[in-house]
Amino acid sequence: MGRYILGHIVQAVFTMWIVVTLVFGLVRLAGSPVDILAGELASREQVEALKQRFGLDKPLHVQYGMYLWGILRGDFGESVITREPAMAEVLQRSWASVQLGAVAMVFTLAMALPIGVYAAVYRGRRLDRLASAFGILGQAVPPFWLGILLIWLFAGQLRWLPAAGKSGPASFVMPVIVISWYAVAGIMRLTRSTMLDVLDSEYIKLARIKGLPEHSVIWKHGLKNAAIPVITYGALIFVGLFLVGSVVAETIFTWPGVGRLIILQSVRFRDFPVVQAAVIFICFLYVTVNLFVDILYSYLDPRIRRA
């Protein structure tokens, strides 16, 4: 167990290192890193200060060392636009993203788990067929397009929801649907297929023979055993989809979070220090959540726990 966890921590650190190095390499590939790090509006003094700070007049390996050291201290340089520390800009917006992500996660589970369980229990009935139709169709609808259709319907035609920005609870509705879209379809299908396996097993038959009430058989004995693959594999699907979904949803609905910050700063302002800080910040969250899921998996699965 200890070795298993250690192995995954090493892998997580290694993944972070690869990403950070990839970013370093791409900046150097682009030619003059000063232009990228300083932006077009920088004065001569600012450029000089940057050269000093990142050692841009020194050999490449020294630059790389200074870059890694900066990242370890959370120093990503200054925003080209505001001249504030880049990481501070990112952290300022992270709370809005976390709020949105948390609501989307609760929504995903609240939709996907019950529908998946019911679809398995009433296999082949109307609800099951409806759910699998949604699963197939849902995976072909690109979330960014769905978001625009939602704006047309709920903000344009019906005028029920605000089209953009973060205000009251109503402003969460459309972004949450966009973020959860793929994850609901994926986890629902996963829950259904795992529940089908579980419901077919001996201990479920035993629970029925014992005369336990049906809801206890399904929700307590059934779902509890189906939970391991759903949590672990589901979480892995989740993290990736949520990441892309958040960037897309925040961009469409002008949500004041990290995802929109990345796109706005990269596409419109080419504010590289902020983009870099945001990318590494999100990567860090992503890798950490993956690590956490792996450890959770080892804890839930006795075959690994006792090894």
Binding site: Q11, P142, F144, I148, I263, S266
Partner: protein, 292 residues
């Protein structure tokens, strides 16, 4: 007499049933898509990039104010949406096929020998695959777009980065299973070289899996390209990529819904067809993959 009648009937049935099970509609849509991409200059009524500021935001022909010169309407710059959707098929197919080709080939080339040889090589590969799978590729795409500028090559690279570990993992698993089989042992006894075993005996057995995986991954690649283009970090704007077109209509959707609607439908139909075809191939060729 009865037997003579029954036999052909059974034979006919054997032929007819698979035909009926073939997903005709998805195949037809995909065929149409490929033809559209190939014949875009012939099929498109106009230029996909020519601007006509006097004809901005015309609605589709069947809506009041529309005209059959622009069957699906025009966008903010007066460009013909139908022509753009048609040319968009080229970009979508070219990018996704190239990326899947390169990524898939790389995954196969790495995983086939590693899976067969096993040992340290294999362990190293699996580590690399695990790391590659846990890198959020879309973020790399954004960094690539900011540093080197958005380009076709950048989009293809990002999709390759996304796709290769998925191929590698699948191919390696299959190779491990196939190398245990008797005919591989027999080939070894017969004196076949390693290269010959890999190419002649193992690779052909991977083809069904690769077909299934590819049909599903092409769909994923198309969505990925469209998402990057939509965000402004994919195909650079004047080009009629479907993702770019959806983004063009983003702020106009309440007044000019057609700008975003039609390219989105094109993505939806393409990916849906690919997924249905992939599901069907999987059930036919490789039931083991059903859980993936």
């Amino acid at each position: 007499m009865q037997i003579a009648i029954r036999v052909p009937a059974a034979r006919v049935k054997r032929l007819v049933v698979p035909l009926r099970q073939v997903p005709v509609l998805p195949l037809a849509i995909l065929l149409l898509l490929v033809l559209t991409a190939l014949l875009a200059p012939v099929l498109a009524p106009g230029s996909p990039t020519e601007q006509n500021l006097g004809k901005r935001l015309l609605p589709p022909a069947w809506v009041g104010g529309g005209s059959w010169d622009y069957p699906l309407g025009t966008d903010l710059f007066g460009r013909d949406i139908l022509s753009r959707v048609i040319y968009g098929a080229r970009i979508s197919l070219m990018i996704s096929m190239t990326a899947i080709g390169v990524g898939g080939l790389f995954g196969i080339l790495v995983a086939l020998p590693a899976g067969y040889l096993g040992g340290r090589v294999d362990m190293l590969l699996m580590r690399a695959v695990d790391v590659a799978l846990s890198i959020p590729t879309i973020l790399i795409g954004i960094v690539l777009a900011v540093t080197l500028g958005p380009s076709y090559e950048a989009v293809i690279s990002v999709i390759v980065l996304f796709v290769w570990p998925r191929y590698a993992r699948q191919v390696r698993g299959e190779t491990l299973a196939i190398k245990q089989r008797d005919f591989i042992a027999l080939a070894k006894i017969a004196g076949s070289s390693r290269a010959r075993i890999l190419i002649v005996h193992i690779f052909p057995n991977l083809v069904p899996t690769l077909l299934v995986l590819s049909s599903l991954q092409v769909g994923a690649a198309i969505i990925m390209e469209a998402t990057l283009s939509f965000l402004g970090v994919g195909i650079p704007p004047p080009a009629p990529a479907w993702g770019v077109m959806v983004a063009d209509g983003k702020d106009l959707v309440v007044s000019a819904w057609w700008v975003s609607l039609f390219p989105g439908i094109a993505i939806l139909l393409t990916v849906l067809s690919l997924n249905l075809l992939g599901d069907w191939l999987r059930d036919r060729l490789d039931p083991k993959l059903r859980q993936v």
